[in-house]
Amino acid sequence: MTDTLRALMGATALTAVALAAQAETITIATVNNGDMIRMQGLTSHFTDMHPDITVEWVTLEENVLRQNVTTDIATGGGQYDVITIGTYEVPIWGANGWLVALDDMGADYNVDDLLPAVRGGLTVDGHLYASPFYGESSMVMYRTDLMEAAGLEMPEAPTWEFIREAAAAMTDRDNEVYGICLRGKAGWGENMAFLSAMANSFGARWFDMDWRPQFDTEAWSNTLTFYLDLMTNYGPPGASNNGFNENLALFQTGKCGMWIDATVAASFVTNPTDSQVADHVGFALAPDNGLGRRGNWLWAWSLGIPASSDAQEAAKTFIAWATSSAYTELVAAEEGWANVPPGTRTSLYENQAYLDAAPFAEMTLRSMESADPTSPSVDPVPYTGVQFVAIPEFAGLATEVGQLFSAALAGQMSAEDALSQAQALATEEMEAAGY
């Protein structure tokens, strides 16, 4: 063996040892949805660019993830370096000092390109605490063939009264076709996400400016009565057990005339591989009552860095890559424009290739733009959040209220009873929390 060869081998070994010594591992906690799984599949593109960073993925069910991440942050465990969090958690955790501010993401990140409503929801005291990976609102998805057969035409911006009329006209119980499918399963992110957003369009709100619960108002009574009437007469049986997935299954198998839910569902129901009605789906904005607010929500799954992470710089590098326009282009090149994560950047909705590939893009953008987390309802509110109230007490309280409303849908109690119990419950919990 020549000296040169020996030297080369030695240098290679040293380089390998040095790289191994420098390699930093980041653990990313995420949820199981199409966009996140796609990102996992594309991780090698990131590690090729950053050989000094190793990426470990932990994919969990949404509720387990929320519980694990909360526990980890609260106890300073430092198990995760990048976490997937929703719009509800970011303002609370950011204010608590649990998240690292993402103020210096580099020139390529282009923070001004983020959709203003989404960016606003992730900002606390002028600091961005999480970078949006994909965003969503809610809208009406309907069967164009059934609508046509009913002799009706869906307006771009329907009213709740039109929704009731259309639901009545499309319902055909003998053939198991139900005019409307809505969430009924209890939970703050289940039926209460829908009902809180719906309540905004009826002029209802969770709390007045003095943090007094408002379930004893006429606006809430109108909201719940309308919802129960709609679902009881034109909804599927057992609706009190239905969440996103159950309604998706019903819609895809042709059992729903209309479905009001997350805009992300549009790509599922128009996919001919899984949906039997892919060629007969139309979209419209969430309904209103002419009061200046629509019944749609705003949500974004975002990537943040817990303050307990010991690999914050590497985590920031990953987030800058995963939530950049360049990542969007990478997904488009690998899997087509229809598969890029939607609802985070203005530039995506100016891209003609995307608009051509995703027929629901324009409606998604309009829905997202029409939701204002800082002023969600007709009357002023002391909180931010469209379908949630960004206070730590909300998740537990809304889940309990959701159980009451779900019981009313199941016919176990009247709307009046559900509302009066919700009012008593909310008053007690808010007083106990010191509001």
Binding site: T27, A29, V31, N32, N33, G34, I37, Q40, G41, E56, V58, T59, L60, E61, E62, N63, V64, Q67, N68, T71, A74, T75, G76, G77, Q79, Y80, G189, G243, F244, N245, L248, A249, Q252, T253, K255, A262, V264, A265, F268, T273, D274, S275, Q276
Partner: protein, 276 residues
């Protein structure tokens, strides 16, 4: 004289037993069937039982996406490790309570069982903080210890019940022949109690394999077992039932096979002491 059982009665009871058995097994069967369907067939209404295009696509996707062998190895290590450690502690404990009972032995047994009544989440934070201090978060050693502790009352109770069936005179005879305590437990008691210990071991392995609170909350990457593997396929927004079923089938297959081959010992272990 043995009670006469009519053929009609036999048929009714056999049909009833099969009916109940199939009802209990149905969710597992449905999971296995769904794992071979496409996502569209998985949500078909009316449901499709056997008449569909069988596919291995879900297994391929799961294999590609997840490192199944790593999760499997962690499950094996946690189940066997916690069981071995548990038996080491439980055999002497059950021996002392069965053959040298004191005034408070019954109370001690009840107290041990009462620890199973505490909701696990009640001690989540203290245990997490201890593990953080010890640098043992996401480690198999910590989980083996925790799983051993939560299953220990059941192991001790099972062994205690089984040891009570063994006549104390045999042990006395061994002692008169000059056997030490160690000899007595190792060479007299253990060989006689092997069937009971075997069924306790099997049941404990199953309990540790299926444990889904501590294994989900105290692990991320290194110690995550098959429960975490299944949880990663559950999705609130998107229909991935077929893939979730494939992941579940892969997770339960090893324990199902083990249970199948050892059902005789399991049934014996679960029913001993029931009939005197």
């Amino acid at each position: 004289m043995a009670r006469a059982v009519t053929t009609q009665r036999k048929i009714v009871f056999t049909a009833l037993a099969w009916g109940i058995g199939l009802m209990i097994f149905f969710p597992i069967l449905w999971t296995i069937l769904t794992s071979f369907k496409t996502e569209a067939t998985a949500i078909a209404d009316p449901p499709v039982f056997f008449n569909f295009d069988w596919t291995l696509e879900n297994y391929r996707v799961v294999q590609e996406r997840s490192d199944y062998m790593r999760y499997l190895w962690n499950s094996v290590a946690l189940a066997l490790g916690s069981t071995f450690l548990g038996i080491l502690i439980a055999v002497p404990a059950a021996w002392s309570m069965a053959f040298v009972p004191a005034r408070r032995t019954k109370d001690v047994l009840l107290w041990m069982l009462s620890t199973k009544m505490l909701p696990a989440v009640g001690v989540l934070y203290p245990i997490r903080l201890i593990l953080i201090q010890l640098g043992l978060l996401d480690s198999k050693i910590a989980l083996i210890f925790i799983l051993m502790l939560i299953n220990l009352p059941i192991i001790i109770w099972m062994l205690y019940t089984y040891f009570r069936e063994i006549p104390g005179e045999i042990l006395e005879a061994a002692r008169m022949d000059g056997a030490t305590l160690k000899d007595e437990i190792l060479y007299v008691l253990t060989p006689m109690a092997i069937p009971g210990i075997a069924s306790t071991v099997l049941l404990n392995i199953i309990l540790a394999w299926n444990e889904a609170f501590w294994t989900l909350t105290l692990t991320t990457v290194n110690a995550a077992p098959l429960t975490a593997f299944i949880a990663s396929y559950s999705s609130p927004e998107g229909l991935f039932y077929a893939k979730l079923s494939a992941a579940s089938t892969m997770a339960i297959a090893p324990i199902l096979i083990m249970g199948w081959f050892s059902q005789k010992q399991l049934v014996r272990g679960l029913t001993f002491g029931a009939v005197k």
